[in-house]
Amino acid sequence: MVKTWMPREVPSLADILADTRVWKLKDASAAPARPVWSTGRSSLDARLPGGGWPTASLIEVLLDESGLGEVQLFLPALVACQQRTGTEDCPWIVWIAPPHEPYAPALAQQGIELGRLLVVRPSSATEALWAAEQALSSGVCAAVLLWLKGTDNRWLRRLKLAAEAGGALGVLFRPGRHRFESSPASLRLLMTQGEPEAHLDLIKVQGGRPGPVDLGP
């Protein structure tokens, strides 16, 4: 039961802001900037805090069917994170349980260093989550992409903590029916079919404003 508290007089805005229980969005976005990877789409970059995908965090992409350009959203970031550190200690990219075979010529065309790409095919969802947690927390991976049919909240929290510990970008692809569940992911996107481009909806943005994004060129 929610207790309602009625003030005797309406407080001023300054009073409300001075209250420590009020979390200020502006302060959060002004927090020490983490490195971000550009999404390759200026309209999406503009909507994300810091101007790109946040590193060391978990991103959840909800979509029902593959083929909406969901991997394409992350490929520029994957290329950038491999190139930034130079060839000496080029970080790894791990794809766990992808729905189809990742096609090497396409990835090479986009500029991904194939020698540092690892594909993992676990036999069950639990194994996949375990593998993702290991890869995220290992510290040698820049990005871990994970495809799952469904998972519970407890595992998502573990993945988020692992991503933060390992400084890796974790991307989880899940069916759209999970959109109404709560999730610890710092960024949640919903992709739906559309004409001519797929619709992208930011469900949750830590330090930003949710809402639909126009995926213009």
Partner: protein, 473 residues
């Protein structure tokens, strides 16, 4: 043993044995050598002073009893370790003999006679019947020892005379050659030395002439020194039988610690490891481990072993275990980093470690990389890589075949038959593979699904049917 490559390795072999390469003494076989070839100069890098050459002296010992034993190699390897008390260079001569290079040891023991007596006494103590001979040539020593001629000396000039009486059966030539020789009426090596080389080489093969050259000291007879294979092997028996894997992990810790220490002392690493769990009645359970790279780190060994053990179902209680390492390998420079353990912290690990851990739990095939293959057919243009370039970043792919249209991220394992789609881009004609029976003649297009997904489709040119082959995700 006597391939042409052996000759070029001669210098390396002798260098490995710590002795200078031998100078082949040009001793005339007979009064008129029929084709005395000039011997090539031994390879010496320019600028390196020539070390004083030490002519090797070979002590051969033959154990007639071993010729009848089936697994004489094991026995000879054991005897090698005894022989290595006298010289570092011991070579195994199958099936029943050892060759020892003893020139370097003569000064240590005083004289050749004392050394020879000491080595012979060693065989006697082991209760073995033996026959030995010492000459400056490898094969002459072997043949003389087999013939039972107890000759010990370092005068190469006497060799042809000594070998004259040696029966041809003492050479290690095959039965067919010996039969040919007997048919020619030859029974002694001396008789062969008097024959023209060309004819011998034609009838019996150039190997025979080369062996004769080696025997009389015209050519060096390179040998490969025996190296004892070292590996970690330690067992631990439990007072009470262990039924839970968790306790096994605990008991394994000291073994792994000792294994890591063993490796550290030798500056070596291992790539394979085996754990044997002994049961009271059932045969022992063997847990085999393959590591992604050569390592000597305790943390990595225990990590992989623990992962394997976690997935193990014990058939019966365990009463003892044994940890056996694979053969020792040299560590790479990066794994010898003193500070690697300090700077890394406990939560960070290396890429090989991650791959190992994933493979230990998910299986070898479940973790792989992808590579490009220079091929026009889309389904053949990529491949799975199991041996990942785990330590060094791979070379840039040689993109000799640059596709015209963009390729999709997902490729379907089998093309799916679909109705004619709405085309966006194309065509790209791919016609290839007629030579291996999997020929394709297709026009590829980028198409749009009604719901908005971008697809990679093709039309079979012969049938006109449409197929879905990839998805632009």
């Amino acid at each position: 043993m006597k391939s042409p490559r052996a000759k070029s390795r001669t210098a390396d072999l002798f260098a490995a044995a710590g002795i200078a390469a031998p100078v082949p003494a040009a001793v005339p076989l007979c009064a008129r050598p029929l084709c005395a070839r000039p011997l090539p100069a031994p390879p010496v890098a320019p600028g390196i002073a020539r070390a004083p050459r030490l002519k090797p002296l070979w002590y051969a010992v033959v154990f007639p009893e071993l010729a009848q034993i089936e697994h004489s190699l094991d026995e000879l390897q054991k005897l090698c370790t005894h022989a290595q008390g006298f010289t570092p260079f011991v070579s195994i001569e199958m099936p029943d003999a050892l060759l020892l290079e003893i020139k370097g040891s003569i000064r240590l023991f005083g004289s050749l006679e004392i050394l020879k007596a000491a080595i012979d006494a060693c065989w006697q103590r082991l209760g073995l019947k033996s026959c030995s001979a010492t000459t400056p040539s490898t094969l002459a020593a072997l043949w003389l020892a087999r013939a039972g001629e107890s000759m010990h000396g370092d005068d190469a000039g006497k060799l042809p005379g000594l070998l004259a009486k040696v029966p041809i059966a003492c050479t290690a030539w095959d039965a067919e050659r010996l039969q040919t020789l007997r048919a020619l009426g030859l029974t002694r090596v001396g008789e062969m030395l008097r024959l023209p080389r060309g004819g011998l080489a034609r009838r019996l093969g150039p190997e025979v002439v080369r062996d004769l050259d080696i025997a009389v000291g015209r050519q060096p007879g390179p040998r490969r020194p025996f190296m004892a294979r070292e590996r970690f092997r330690e067992r631990c028996d439990f007072e009470t039988e262990i039924e839970h894997v968790a306790y096994l992990e605990k008991a394994l810790e000291p073994l792994i610690e000792r294994c890591a220490q063993f490796l550290r002392h030798r500056q070596a690493g291992i790539q394979t490891l085996q754990l044997k769990l002994k049961h009271r009645e059932l045969p022992a359970t063997r847990v085999r481990l393959g590591l992604a790279s050569i390592t000597s780190e305790r943390r990595r060994l225990s990590d992989v072993l623990t992962q394997k053990l976690m997935r193990l179902e014990l058939k019966a209680p365990v009463r003892g275990m044994e940890l056996i390492s694979g053969s020792l390998r040299a560590l790479s420079a990066s794994s010898l980093d003193v500070f690697a353990g300090l700077t890394g912290g406990s939560s960070r690990d290396s890429a090989p470690q991650l791959v190992e851990r994933l493979r230990a739990r998910l299986g070898e095939e479940a973790v792989y990389g992808v590579c490009l293959i220079e091929e026009h057919r889309p389904e053949a243009a990529w491949g799975k890589v199991q041996a990942l370039p785990l330590c060094a970043p791979s070379q840039k792919p040689t993109a000799a075949i640059e596709p015209q249209l963009p390729r999709p991220v997902w490729l379907l394992a089998q093309p799916l038959s679909i109705p004619a789609p709405q085309l966006l881009q194309g065509p790209e004609r791919i016609e290839s593979g007629w030579w291996d029976g999997k020929g394709v003649a297709r026009d590829y297009y980028i198409a749009r699904q009604a719901q908005g997904a971008r697809l990679w489709v093709f039309q079979e040119r012969h049938t006109g049917l449409w197929y879905l082959h990839g998805v632009f995700a």
